[in-house]
Structures are given as C-alpha cells and as structure tokens.
Symmetry: C2
Subunit: 327 residues, 2 copies
C-alpha cells in the first residue's frame, strides 16, 4: 500500500486537458451503464456542525476503484482550522486489496469538480463568449474559472461575493492566473444579466438566481448544491430554460437544484434532463444555437473520484512519490 | 495522521475482557439510541467475485469514530491470496480530520465479531455448560471459541467442518490454546444434538441447522450470515426457539437469519427479537432457566467497529507504535 501526501498529489495533478479527457471518459462510461455507483453514505455529527460523506464508483474494466471520504465541519474556522478535509482510497478491483491512501484533503475533489464544470460548458455554453460570470470567491470559484478557460475563451470576468476583501483577492489572483480582466459586480443579478456563462459556487440555502435575469444565449452551471438543504437557483429557472443537463439524474433529484424544482412542483423526475455522459457520447444534443438558455446541475459523482484518483496514482508512481506501508 | 500495521495492531489488541467490556458498552449506547449508524455501503465487483462493504457508526460523546472498509474477493485463494482484506479509518468527531489508518486486514473485525458472540453467550447460554459446539473451522471458528471461553467454562468442544485436514488442524490449535478436549463431529446434527451452546461460523447459503435437532437448554449463535444471500439456520428454527436475540434488529431483518425467516413467513419484523444492548442494559431478560432454547443472530455493526478501533488506537499510541504521516 502506498501513501501520498497532499503536497505530492498537488505536484502531479491539476485542472488540465488530461483531467478533462479522463473525467469525460468517466461520464461516458456512466452513461453506458458501465459504472456501479452506490448511494452516498453519510454520517452527521450535529453536535459539531459536521458531516462526513463517502462516495465510490466501480468502473468496469478499470483495475482500481476509489472510495472517497469527505468531511465538512463548519465550526472548524472558529478554531482556525479548515472546514473541509478528506482522503481518497484506491482498491484493486482484482483482489480488493488497498493500493493507496491519497491524503489529499479535498484537492482531487476540487479538480474533478472543476473539470465537470468545464465539460458542462463544453457542451452547453455558447462557442463564442465575451463574459464569464462567477458567483462566490472561494476555492471552486477559482478552479471553475480556470476549468472554463480550458474550453472557452472570454474577454472578461464578472465576480460577485459578499465580502469585499475576498472579492478583491479573487480579482487579483485570477487576473494573475488567467491574464483576463476581472471586475466586481454589485449583485448576482448584475453577474447573470451581463455574462454569457455563469458558474455558481456557493453553499447557499436560499436561491441566489431568479428567472427574470435570464437572457438569450446564457448558460448557467450550478455546482454549489450537493446536499438536500443547499439551493442556489430558484426553481422557476429550471422550468424556464431551454436545455436542462446534469451529472447524474438520480443524484440531482436527491441533492441538487432539481430536487428543489421537483419539490416546488415545476419539474418531474421524468423530465428531459440530459446527462453529461450522453452529451459527451453524442447521444443527446446540448446547445443547438446562440439563443438557447441552458442549465447544468452538478452534485459530484463517484465516477469522477475514481477517474481522478487513478490518474493521480499513476502519475505519483511514475514520479516515485509516496511511501510504501508497511515498509 | 497515524498509520498502523496489522503486526502492531495484533500486538496490542485481542479477544479479552477489556474488548468485551468496550463492545458491550457500544451495544448499550446503540440500545439507548446514542449511536448514528447509517446503512452499509456496498460495491459488488461480480467480474472478480468480489464485494466491498463500508460500515460506520458515530457514538455520541466519543471523540473519534471509525469507518471500516472490508473486502471479500473469493477468487483470491486461486491466486494464493487471502479472500478477506480491509482497514479501519479513525476520524475526529470534533474536526472531521483523519486521525488514523489502521491497516489491520480484518483483524479488528475478527476480534469485535468474536466478542459479540461472547456477549450473546453471556446473556443467553446456560450458566453451567458441558459441551461447546462449533460449525466451521476457519478464523472465526477459532476466535468465537476463545470468546465463548471468556464467559463460560466447558469441558469439551465438538467441531464440524467439511474438510478433514482443516478439522484436525482446528482440533490441534484449539486444544493447545484452551487446554480443553476438542472432538470432531460427523455432522452439524451431531454438534447441535450434543452441545449446550453452538456457534455457526460459515459462509453457507443453504441452512445447516434444522429445528428437529433442538433440545432443552440449547443456545445457538449464528454469526456467518452478514449478507442477503447467506443462510446458516433453517427459518423454522427461529420460529421454534423460546428467546430470539440479535445485534441490530434493522440489520438482521436485512442481512441475517431473520431475513430468511421473514421471507419464509415464519417471522414478522415486529417479532419480539431482543437486541444485545437491551439485554446488557437489563431492559430485557435473556435466558431465564435451563430449559429454554435461545438463539442470537449476528450480522456485525458499525458500533463494534468504532469501539474496537478507538480502543486499538489508544493502545497503539500508548505503545508509541505506528508512523506519523506526513512526517
């Protein structure tokens, strides 16, 4: 069994073309029903405002599969600690033996989540866009913008966040990283009204985005909601758009924006929501013209975890990183 | 984060009084509803005759909780490898951070499973017994007998196994370990008819034990079945006995002998099956006289895993074992 540190993992993996290709391949296999993906196991520790999620997926034909444990303990910042942590484990699909512990503290999740956003834009955003919009100023706000840049060029970025200093830092960081002009917006409304593609990256529990702000050509990717109580998008938006897409239909109706739209009665489970895997396979058409309004709901899937963890493992072994245990 | 090897874990933990006390305490907390125990997450890899189970339990008031990953890959023996492997992870219930990786390859599961058998006997076996019966000759056949010996004295042991050489090895090993006479039985029937307490430890998929063999004073613990398709005890046995007990009512009706009895229509989910935790708390009475026939169905619970993993961790830290990662 090998053990790899976050530092080593960061050195060999990033939001890039290769990760995009692998995650896309994972979604294709999901669409072809070549993936076994059990429901998420979740433990709540309400006394400490904490939750632990376990995700996994077995992809037929792969010699390893990942099991991911992610913790969110939201009193941690009061103690000067990060809220999120976690690791991925890799097991042999031939023997069941543990091959690796990837002590990534959520880094690989950040990468695979951002890359799913890039895939959504690849099939749903206008081919030529001018302005990218980001709601939120955290880690995913950064990774999602970098991932979007892999598949679309844009001239400027509009960002909205509630804390001014975090918005300033975001602008500085992203202008340095991408060399694109980034401006602060006064409101989510300003971002949506003036962007071609918007990515929402917040842990909001009340809708941030209203249907009145939609305009021809707009694409929205909502990646914030991954639990029943999270909600970034007003249900009426899902009713209004021309193309609805997601990572996994069964998951978004349980954990994503679709869940709230279904509860509000504007969407049925049998609705025509397309999965990224079917878009990638060409079984379904995404955006067909520059007038359509499109929407993609991301909750994060085990198949992304397996794809990124196996990739990281191979690169780490190649670079002779990590320690073998027991020696 | 600390990482501990199987070798180190074996040095500090065993089937003993202390483990019994801690597992009993865990069952009491389960009975008092002080435990959050989500359903087991399971991944099947049918191509390689493999399965991976994830169990966990959060026990209120404990500063850590365990997540256990167990693999069973039943083509492994053909490759000269053990079928079972696995590890336990320990997380802080205050921060969600990973505290330890216990690379025990199923050893702690063996211990906590055996100790649950001892608890069943503590409350359900006759106080004075002459003969202990064991069906099966594998690892649990050994640990269960040692665990039974913690709570009951017996003069002799009757063992049944299908392979003669494994029976001989079992007899030799257990006579050495316990200093008690061990004899081979010709059949499961002989074991049941001539023993006061019987423990079944097989992965059988067809019933081994029939109700015609029951006799006054008999206690049976069935620990083999922990999955829908496993079945050691004929459903009519569960209908016949005077006292029915188990580790977790919700689990045994899904994974244990109760599941088959319910399918056969001889048992209802509302049946009066007692949980070990309630027996330990004194809320319910186990055996009341030497004439009753008693039965306990064990499927293995996350609360046992958390109890044994935290115990092992504390002993390992005390003994300054393991390595810290990253250094």
């Amino acid at each position: 069994m090998f053990i790899f540190s976050e530092k080593d993992i960061r050195q060999v993996t990033d939001v890039n073309e290769k990760a995009l290709e692998l995650i896309e391949d994972g979604f294709k296999k999901l669409a072809r029903e070549e993936v076994t993906m059990p429901p998420i196991l979740r433990v709540d520790i309400p006394e400490n405002n904490g939750e632990v999620d376990v995700k996994t997926a077995y992809v037929k034909g792969m010699d390893k599969f990942a099991l991911k444990i992610s913790s969110g303990f939201f009193n941690n910042p009061d103690k000067g600690l990060p809220s999120l942590s976690g690791m991925m484990l890799l097991f042999s699909t031939e023997t069941g033996f543990t091959e690796a512990v990837l002590q990534d503290n959520g880094y690989l999740t950040d990468v695979r989540t951002a890359v799913a956003g890039a895939l959504a834009a690849k099939y749903l955003a206008k081919p030529k866009m001018k302005t990218a919009g980001i709601i939120g100023t955290g880690t995913q706000a950064r990774y999602q913008l970098r991932a979007l840049h892999l598949v679309r060029s844009f001239e400027e970025v509009l960002v909205y966040g509630r804390k001014e200093e975090r918005v300033h830092q975001y602008i500085k960081d992203m202008e340095d990283t991408l060399g694109v002009k980034v401006r602060a917006a006064e409101s989510p409304e300003e971002v949506v009204r003036h962007s071609d593609t918007v990515v929402t990256t917040t842990p909001a529990k009340e809708p941030l985005i209203q249907k009145e702000w939609l305009h021809p050509g707009l694409h929205i990717t909502a990646m914030g909601s991954d639990a029943e109580d999270k909600n970034e998008i007003h249900p009426s938006v899902l009713e209004e758009v021309d193309v609805l897409a997601c990572d996994s239909v069964s998951q978004v109706f349980r954990l994503g924006e679709h869940h709230h739209a279904a509860e509000a009665g504007v969407l049925k489970e049998s609705s025509n929501t397309l999965e990224l895997g079917h878009l990638a396979l060409g079984n379904e058409k995404g955006r067909e013209n520059d007038e359509q309004v499109t929407f993609c709901d991301l909750t994060g899937t085990g198949v992304q975890d397996t794809a990124i963890a196996v990739y990281a493992y191979d690169k780490l072994r190649e670079a002779e990183k990590g320690i073998r245990f027991p020696e």
